[in-house]
Symmetry: C2
Subunit: 347 residues, 2 copies
DNA sequence: CCGCTGGGGGACAACGTTGTCATAGTGGCC
DNA sequence: GGCCACTATGACAACGTTGTCCCCCAGCGG
């Protein structure tokens, strides 16, 4: 295996024009249409002609321009757009992977972008993708207003919302059972004798955070332990605010003996804050995460499957692309409580 | 906030043709060029005309077709291609995030795909991206043959290799200091009295795995503990094979008292295997991972920064796009040993 | 009244493909 | 020999934009 340098000046060859079918045609001494035939494996080209064309293609380093092709054919661009909150978050990267996988099977490329929970950025990304004429859109909504998508949907771009519902359009949506999950978490803790169960969640304008809060409240009521404002802390959380909150919960007249964490980031903040603390409250976290089983104590979680979420949404999208025009669907994926230890501590 | 259904039949509107500038022009009673002027904020359009055009755009839900635009202008497509091993792996999703971030600042969209360590798939993805006329390519090489990229590079598409070097082309490359890292790991363990230090790595045809093995060997020699074949286990590892290997290492005539893990997946397998075991060997893992500090004992690692890697590579790519045509560069990012406990166990 | 200026707007070609249709040549059959 | 069928190939338009160039007309100075 020799080391080839792409001969001649390579880096910074910004000015070179890529070879087109025209160039190939000229070099091979045929018409451009014949080149097209060869490139597309269409019949009716004499083998010797095809050979000349292929040689020219090789010599010029020709590669068909897909944009031009799609433009002319008016066909799909073979892309789907994915707008999520942050690819860097393992949960969403799991989603991305699943989306990519299915898209691949259906011969599509994925274009993705992170909104960072910023509605403006979400919109910017989604519309940019529409300008690129993606065949469909998968969106983890950052905001509550999605009417900007109405023209796109009307123009035939299917949109599936993921993880959270859209604010003001009716469209396919895939969610997880946030309420059921937190109800189960609370019930589980109550069953182990806890009556002072706290909830730390994300800002309540985030759909999932709000739903989980509702589930928490319902769980408290059902378990007969009552809902107490003082045991709840919503809002954007960082390590510092979590530490403060935990301290507060501990020093209540009736301290919290158990905590439900609203998502994986919060769970991790809590774990870090509690590291080395002897008297630990029981803990159940929403979202599973790697190594949860290897911590001590292992962390009990409400688990749901990122790739199942991605798969369900993408399947739905492709169903629409295949012509399914039934009314918009809302799919709610189940969650399950995985008891590992941290949630089985008795009060 | 009312709930708008995109009026009329929406889902399954596969047949609708998107409005073009032509349609807008007709509706507004102007020429298509005037529409173009309005859409592009070009001067020389009477405000009242512009208003009519905007109204028509709104009414028809027109959105400029970026492919057509780029085709006509011969300008960049505003996209860059990213081929990695698996977006689902937190390390690569960190890379992805960083790439996305920089691309955004430079007004580019990222198209990405996972090769799953399959050279054929890598090639397929890279060439597909070239067909889409990405402005540049970032590739985590799966195989050793990349001469297929020569025509593309010659045609002016800059390519930067990431995490591993290309097999047979000279191109920009960003790596981490694999050898230095493992040397440091071994040195560290030896300094704590270990003389029987094992190495579990990935298949040696993977560049990083091989480099790390070299570093391990060099570290052993430098530390004066010698290199022993029996302490090394390379190859694809799953939980089972890791368990078997650990057992073997434990039952050697002179058992291993310390382990260097070749990457984060292997580290995790080891941790899972050792869970609950009383007599644990010392452990240093290559790649940092979330929660490493919360395990007991906390895991000592050779850390390097996924986002730094992504950033460096993307910066390099954009430098090329900006016209930098200096000879291909090879950037090696430093790693650092983060002592947390698991590696500071004395032999 | 003429010519000039400049703002507002349009006609047309071109980007790189592919679909449609036409045509040249070749051989076979009556 | 004339006609047909068939193969191999090409000319040309069109996809949705934008760049270039041109035109019309109002206003203005001489």
């Amino acid at each position: 295996m020799t080391t080839l340098s792409p001969s001649g000046p390579v880096a910074g060859q910004r000015k070179v024009r890529r070879a087109t079918m025209n160039d190939v045609a000229r070099l091979a001494g045929v018409s451009i249409k014949t080149v097209s035939r060869v490139v597309n494996d269409e019949p009716g080209v004499h083998p010797s002609t095809a050979e000349r064309v292929l040689a020219a293609i090789d010599q010029l380093g020709f590669r068909r321009n897909l944009s031009a092709r799609n433009l002319r054919r008016g066909s799909s661009t073979g892309t789907i757009g994915l707008v999520l909150e942050d690819v860097g978050n393992p949960f969403y990267s799991g989603v991305t992977r699943a989306v990519e996988e299915i898209a691949r099977l259906r011969g599509r490329q994925v274009i993705s972008g992170s909104s960072d929970e910023d509605p403006g950025r979400e919109r910017e990304l989604a519309l940019e993708f529409c300008s690129r004429r993606v065949d469909g859109l998968l969106i983890v909504p950052a905001g509550l207003q999605h009417s900007y998508l109405v023209p796109e949907m009307r123009a035939g771009t299917p949109v599936v919302f993921l993880d959270r519902p859209a604010g003001d359009v009716v469209a396919d949506t895939v969610l997880v059972d946030n309420i059921g999950g937190t109800v189960e978490a609370v019930t589980h803790l109550a069953a182990h004798g806890h009556r002072r169960i706290a909830f730390l969640g994300d800002a309540p304008d985030i759909f999932t955070a709000n739903e989980r809060l509702r589930g928490y409240r319902e769980g408290c009521v059902r378990a007969g332990v009552g809902y107490h404002e003082e045991l709840v802390a919503m809002g954007p959380h960082d390590e510092g605010s979590v530490a403060t909150t935990l301290k507060r919960l501990q020093h209540l007249r009736e301290p919290a003996t158990a905590i439900v964490a609203g998502n994986n980031r919060i769970t991790v903040h809590i774990l870090r804050t509690l590291a080395g603390v002897a008297e630990r409250p029981a803990l159940v976290g929403f979202d599973d995460f790697e190594l949860a089983d290897l911590l001590s104590p292992p962390v009990t979680v409400i688990a749901h499957d990122a790739s199942a979420l991605g798969k369900a949404a993408t399947d739905l999208l492709f169903a629409r692309l295949d012509g399914d025009n039934s009314p918009p669907r809302r799919v709610v994926l189940p969650v399950r409580l995985v008891p590992r230890g941290s949630g089985e501590v008795h009060a």
